[in-house]
């Protein structure tokens, strides 16, 4: 499903060249729940940006569903993001002026669904995350955990092939974090591929496979806890 081979990402300024990813290779199969961990600055978010088509890669090859991503133009990349990928962000990234219904509606409008289809999908996904009674609320009227659930509903409404989660529990207390991880596990069990980027090694235990990133590369020298998880997986 996701196949990155020797992917590099270099950020250049007039004076500095930063290698965020070096020869990064990873294959994720359909239905997997993969966690990507690593210290700050290791390249986790860069990996997520490239995997989610939010940024171009500098070198290497990236195929998503057998399609060479490097050959897509901006419009095609937007379409792939919209149709195949669901995003869950650390800071929820809901649009503050829009109520819950309209927030979940945002990617569906870009998809071009008609009003009835959008309404059906919005209501279904919001019900699924247990916020059916809050559709007209604004994000600011919800707790952090509820906002993240709305973000999950927004990510799921388009029925994406895989979900990219960037520190999904980073802004939540432990109880809310557990609840969100339970929800992700349910979604994965239903068949959606999930890649979760987190710097918390403890959270990685919830995934079925763990990838440790260091210095922009997949590292074999993962911390013990992580290796234990990998062995269990």
């Amino acid at each position: 499903m996701l196949n990155m081979k020797n992917v590099s990402k270099v950020y250049r300024t007039d004076t500095v060249e930063t290698h965020a990813l070096r020869e990064f290779s990873l294959i994720v199969e359909e239905g997997e729940f993969v966690s990507v961990t690593g210290p700050s600055g290791s390249g986790k978010t860069t990996f997520l940006n490239i995997a989610g088509l939010l940024e171009d890669l500098t070198d290497g090859a990236y195929e998503l569903d057998g399609r060479d991503i490097s050959k897509l133009n901006d419009k095609e990349r937007s379409r792939v993001r919209n149709e195949k990928i669901g995003f869950i962000f650390q800071s929820f990234n809901l649009i503050p002026e829009l109520n819950i219904f309209d927030n979940v509606d945002v990617p569906l409008r870009y998809r071009g669904f008609n009003a009835d289809e959008r309404k059906r999908r919005i209501e279904q996904s919001i019900e699924m995350v247990g916020l059916g009674s809050r559709m007209q609320h604004l994000p600011a009227q919800l707790s952090g955990g509820q906002q993240q659930r709305v973000a999950i509903a927004r990510a799921l409404a388009g029925e994406p092939r895989f979900l990219l989660a960037d520190e999904p529990t980073g802004n939540l207390d432990s109880q809310m974090a557990d609840s969100v991880l339970d929800l992700l596990a349910e979604i994965n069990a239903a068949g959606t591929t999930i890649i979760m980027v987190t710097h918390e090694l403890g959270l990685a235990d919830r995934a079925r496979r763990n990838i440790f990133v260091r210095d922009g590369q997949v590292s074999d020298n993962a911390p013990e806890l992580h290796l234990a998880s990998m062995a269990a997986g």
């Binding site: 997520l48 940006n49 940024e55 937007s78 149709e83 995003f87 990234n93 649009i95 870009y110």
Partner: protein
């Protein structure tokens, strides 16, 4: 289309949008009414005077010798002028259209003391007046030489025959149908005047006068040391002849001075100087206001883009294409502009009603408001295009950056 979500989002943060909508409304109200004033002035300025403005000029001979034979001098001057190559015709008169100085008279439909029913500008001419002014005679005939008299030979002063403009005839006899030739009216309660001819148009000397189209030619030559000559030339000879005639008349008699040389076009331009200035000032104000409104929209849109950088990145991450981001800001501006132009339309009509009542302005033409709406919509869309394009260039990777 995302009208619903955009509108709801705007309603939750409406301060800036309302201010811009208000600015658009005020701009539209001023623009529409300024346009109405400009249009009215422009129509006024473009009215034909009825004479051949392009080929006509005038000058004044002022004699200073006490026992000067004015009659002879005027006749000699006219013979000289009419004989000049390039001169079509010449006449001695008191004034000409749009000169801003002349003679007017109250007119009566019946003899005897009473209130005048109309008034008219008076041009004293001989039988060459009609041709010199190049007037279009639509009914009747020109004066015959025997109908023209000197004021010194005329005990009642006012001659018995006149040529009037169509507008004056209609004003004098509003219920009359058919030819006005042969109709009689009275000067000063007691002097009858018989209409022998009707010209299509000849404006009065005063452009702001409501009766500017009411004029008449009176076949009277005035024996005076002050003589104004109006000369019509062949096309292309005017400027050359203006110099030549001034020199010729100055040289032909040393007991006078020649002054007031000027073309009818210059007189026309001078008489509409205030209107032309008003049009320029109002145009400047309209352009300035529109530019300020455009800049206001640019400012709001730029601020909005800067404030929503992350949100734009999120939308891009969720699948918005660059054109979709541009469309979002265009639609948002369209909604603000629509509120502004609708409010502006109401405001413009209200202001116009006040101006019509207070300044006798012509009511707005039906198309002015729709045209102004379209102009402001276009200005709004043009103003927001730059910020919208900048917004579309925001990277979707912004969405994953920490706050």
């Amino acid at each position: 289309m995302e009208f619903g979500p955009i509108w709801r989002a705007m309603m939750r943060n409406k301060g800036g949008y309302l201010l811009i909508a208000l600015q658009i409304a005020v701009t539209m109200a001023v623009m529409v009414n300024a346009f109405a004033i400009m249009q009215e002035r422009s129509i006024k300025m473009s009215r034909p005077s009825g004479i051949d403005d392009a080929n006509t000029f005038s000058l004044v001979s002022v004699g200073f010798k006490p026992d000067m034979d004015a009659k002879t001098l005027v006749q000699e001057d006219l013979d000289l002028l009419r004989g000049l190559p390039g001169v079509v015709n010449a006449v001695e008169t008191n004034s000409f259209p749009l000169r801003q100085g002349g003679w007017s008279e109250g007119l009566h439909r019946e003899p005897g003391v009473g209130k005048s029913v109309s008034s008219s500008a008076i041009y004293f001419v001989d039988e060459h007046g009609l041709d010199t002014f190049a007037l279009n005679l639509v009914d009747g005939q020109n004066f015959t030489p025997d109908q023209v008299s000197w004021d010194s030979d005329s005990p009642d002063f006012w001659p018995a025959t006149v040529i009037v403009t169509q507008a004056l005839a209609e004003d004098l006899f509003p219920d009359h149908e058919g030819s006005y030739v042969g109709k009689t009216f009275w000067f000063n309660d007691e002097n009858p005047a018989n209409i022998v001819g009707v010209v299509e148009r000849m404006q009065a000397p005063w452009p702001t006068w409501t009766g500017v189209e009411r004029s008449m030619l009176v076949p009277l030559r005035r024996e005076s040391e002050f003589a104004r000559y109006v000369i019509r030339t062949e096309p292309g000879y005017r400027d050359e002849l203006m110099v030549q005639v001034e020199e010729l008349l100055s040289g032909s008699n040393k007991d006078r001075i020649i002054r007031g040389l000027g073309s009818a076009e210059e007189a026309r331009k001078l008489s509409y100087l205030g209107d032309a200035a008003m049009i320029k000032i109002l145009s400047f104000i309209v352009v300035l206001l529109t530019a300020i409104t455009g800049l206001g929209i640019v400012g709001l849109a730029s601020f909005s883009v800067a404030r929503r950088t992350r949100q734009i990145g999120i939308r891009r991450a969720l699948g918005a294409t660059k054109p979709a981001i541009i469309r979002y800001f265009m639609l948002e501006n369209f909604l603000v502009s629509s509120v502004g132009v609708v409010a502006g339309g109401v405001l413009a009509i209200g202001l116009n009603i006040v101006m019509v009542q207070a300044f006798a302005l012509t009511p707005l033409a039906w198309y002015v408001i729709p045209v102004a709406m379209i102009v402001l919509w276009v200005v709004g869309q043009a103003a927001v295009a730059g910020p919208a394009r900048r917004a579309s260039a925001i990277s979707p990777a912004i969405a994953t950056r920490s706050i």
